[in-house]
């Protein structure tokens, strides 16, 4: 168990291929590299923390996750069981369940994928888009809540050759 809240183990983190717990990868990573944020402000359970102290799934944890995957990264999300019964507190469990629900529906977009040659883009509405690829397909993950029936991904064009854009799967 590594606790780097005080940034005292930078050498260890470098040796282990870990990156800062908060923030995002700036570039493609040459090898699979992990970020390891705690779901709250502590790596372990802190009875002083409330739900407001935990990173929000939609605004922080999920965008961190999908952007890391698009850049050949991984997200190691720390949770800390509560004292006594050792149960995962509801504030932490709800975030894990949110990941599970999204992955149940959309897991193909990230599981077993590799980075595409372009990591990300934005929509015409300014929403971030992250790309992954797997044998035979390219996936786009539009983060946020797009409205309307059309989403334009700026600056990235799927190939024009016959059949290249014919995939119509939406999960």
């Amino acid at each position: 168990v590594v606790n780097d809240r005080w940034q005292t183990d930078l050498l260890f983190r470098r040796l282990m291929g870990l990156r800062p717990a908060r923030g995002s990868f700036d570039l493609f990573l040459k090898r699979v590299t992990a970020r390891d944020p705690g779901v709250g402000t502590s790596y372990g359970y802190n009875r002083q923390e409330t739900d407001a102290d935990y990173a929000p799934f939609e605004q922080t944890l999920f965008p961190d996750f999908v952007s890391a995957v698009a850049k050949n990264g991984r997200l190691l999300l720390h949770v800390g069981p509560a004292g006594g019964g050792g149960q995962i507190p509801p504030e932490q469990r709800s975030r894990l369940e949110a990941f599970g629900a999204w992955l149940d529906a959309n897991g193909e977009a990230v599981t077993g994928t590799r980075p595409y040659h372009v990591a990300g883009a934005t929509t015409a509405d300014g929403l971030p888009v992250w790309f992954t690829q797997a044998p035979g397909r390219v996936n786009a993950v539009v983060v946020g809540r797009p409205t309307g029936a059309t989403v334009r991904i700026r600056g990235v064009s799927c190939p024009r050759r016959a059949g290249a854009c014919s995939a119509t799967a939406a999960w």
Partner: protein, 36 residues
Amino acid sequence: VVTVRPSGGSTVLTFDHELDGTYAPAVAVQIGSVRR
């Protein structure tokens, strides 16, 4: 269902219904194939 087409250097996804946040926090779409 969503259709995908290139348009002026962009990729346009057209859904058969209005998006209303149902897919939050993200919509994942297969946008193309890769030559193997």
